[in-house]
């Protein structure tokens, strides 16, 4: 490892300080992290490598090189899961934005400190609960003798339970709940950095609250919207427990297929091909989205 000395700091030649000019402990500081990065890179290369190997039924070993895994992805069965996954990710990102915006707005603009803390803790708590606890809670809410159905039955609004479990509606509802905290945090970060003077200027020029919001606040928060939607999309794509337990095999996402192939039939090569294709699909979708949203992002305050 070379120890190239940073020449960019102007005070270096004025007073050579040992902290800046030398690089003490460089090797000790960098080696462990480099090993970690190496280990992770090798694991990802292993996935890449397996995706182009043949599957030998009944064996964990992979066969020779082949592209058949990727060809198999085009089968209607698998193509459908991919389309479903992208559609569920879109729906989730969209509804999370709609639900998250008012909350982020309230969080940033409420003058009351107690309300602010309450909203913040309510929003952030689910983030730290983990997917399993949250998904289990939604099963109790949405199940056939769950909270919503028992309440509706008791009130006499329905005669037989409404089927929420094993439907896209159920899966998306739970996923919106899972991604909401991140969305709110990202939107709130954008909203909190808007200069209050812009809104005051609009108001003093006679704009009503709705007009101020649509013409000033909303466009200025555009970078937060783009970041929030992008993150919600990526998070939903990697969700596993929610589609697995609430989808119950009837709503399948790429993650569920990877798990089934890996652990039910030990077809690691095909599972790896799904991972690679999924990653490519996420990156392409997000890149497209960013490309479409680029004019929006420029409206931001920075």
């Amino acid at each position: 490892m070379t120890a190239a000395v940073s020449q960019s700091r102007p005070f270096v030649y004025l007073e050579p300080s040992p902290v800046v000019t030398q690089q003490p402990f460089l090797r000790v500081f960098v080696t462990p992290a480099t090993l970690c990065a190496f280990g992770f890179a090798v694991a990802m290369i292993a996935v890449l490598q397996y995706s182009v190997r043949a599957y030998i039924p009944g064996s964990l070993e992979a066969g020779g090189f082949t592209l058949s895994n990727f060809v198999a992805l085009l089968k209607p069965l698998y193509a459908r899961v991919f389309l479903d996954t992208v559609w569920i990710c879109f729906l989730t990102a969209f509804f999370t934005l709609i639900v998250g915006y008012p909350l982020a707005y309230a969080l940033v603009f409420t003058p009351n400190v107690a309300i602010k803390s309450f909203v913040l803790v309510t929003v952030v708590t689910p983030l730290f609960l983990g997917e399993v606890v949250r998904t289990y809670s939604w099963i109790i809410v949405l199940g056939n003798n769950g909270f919503i159905n028992s309440t509706l039955l008791k009130l006499g609004l329905i005669d037989s339970p409404v089927q929420f479990m094993f439907t896209k509606f159920g899966v998306v509802t739970a996923l919106v709940h899972v991604t909401l905290p991140v969305m709110v945090i990202m939107l709130a970060a954008a909203l909190s950095h808007i200069d209050r003077d812009y809104q005051k200027a609009a108001e003093s020029l006679g704009a009503g609250p709705i007009r101020t919001f649509i013409t000033v606040t909303l466009p200025l928060s555009a970078p937060g919207i783009v970041a929030g939607v992008t993150t919600a999309f990526a998070w939903t794509f990697s969700a596993f427990a929610t589609p697995q337990l609430i989808g119950g095999g009837r709503v399948n996402m790429v993650s569920n297929l990877v798990y089934q192939l890996g652990f039910a039939s030990f077809n690691f090569p095909f599972a790896a091909a799904l991972c690679v294709a999924g990653l490519a699909l996420t990156f392409i979708t997000l890149w497209l989205f960013r490309w479409i949203a680029r004019p929006l992002e420029r409206m931001g305050p920075h």
């Binding site: 960098v30 694991a43 990697s238 993650s255």
Partner: protein, 272 residues
Amino acid sequence: MPRSAFQRLLRVIGISVVVVILGFLALPAVVVTLAAFNDKAILAFPPEQWSWRWFVKAVEYEDFRAGFRNGATVTLWASSTALVIGAAFAFAIDRYQFRFKRLIETILISPLVIPHFTVGLGFLILAAELGLARGFAVVIVCHIVLVLPFVLRSVYVSLRNLDPRYELAAASLGATPGRVLLTVTLPLLAPGLASGWLFAAILSFNEFTASLFVTSQRTQTLPVAMYNYVREYADPSMAALSVMYIVVTALLLTFANAFLGLGKVMNVERSH
């Protein structure tokens, strides 16, 4: 400030929308609490008889106990190792120039955008290829990689906010680089290190998808044990465990908010 009737109406609508959304956020937690205290094994709303027995059952269930022990082992090792590795590397990124700096940083940050099922599958294949048993080592390495981005970010932000003049002062007074690091830099970084570790520990303890791939029956962590329980049984002991989870997490966060200022950590405080 004079308000028109229209503005008051808007305000009422806005507040009701926010209350409804907060209700949506809190609904699962409330319902799961009701279910946990229900005496019967079958769900009923509202419960006809209240009892603590599911809490007792959850605490005594051997798979949950083993999951908790395994999870605690993995979490302590993974988050502490990640803290040491991440803090050292964040320091190097901030201060030093070295070969492949950007490349190593990019690889270490990338678990943020790579789905956990892909990371889990990768380590599973790697362990199989190397002929490693599915023991704790694989799980811990996998968790270190997954929490490192958060530690890096947390320490890096505190390093950026650190005034370099303290270190220069110590150095100009003759302190060796090692002494500057131990007596000036590290103490000043303490809050960043603490929050980085806490964040890493919470994430590692709750990590599920990658753990499902890399753990075995012997090493399964608590979320994996809970997942297996939900798939096989329907009694409310899982609800009781969820309630304990929710209460502990909410308490930790309220505490963190009061002492650390969650708004600042999350970067959602208004800048004046």
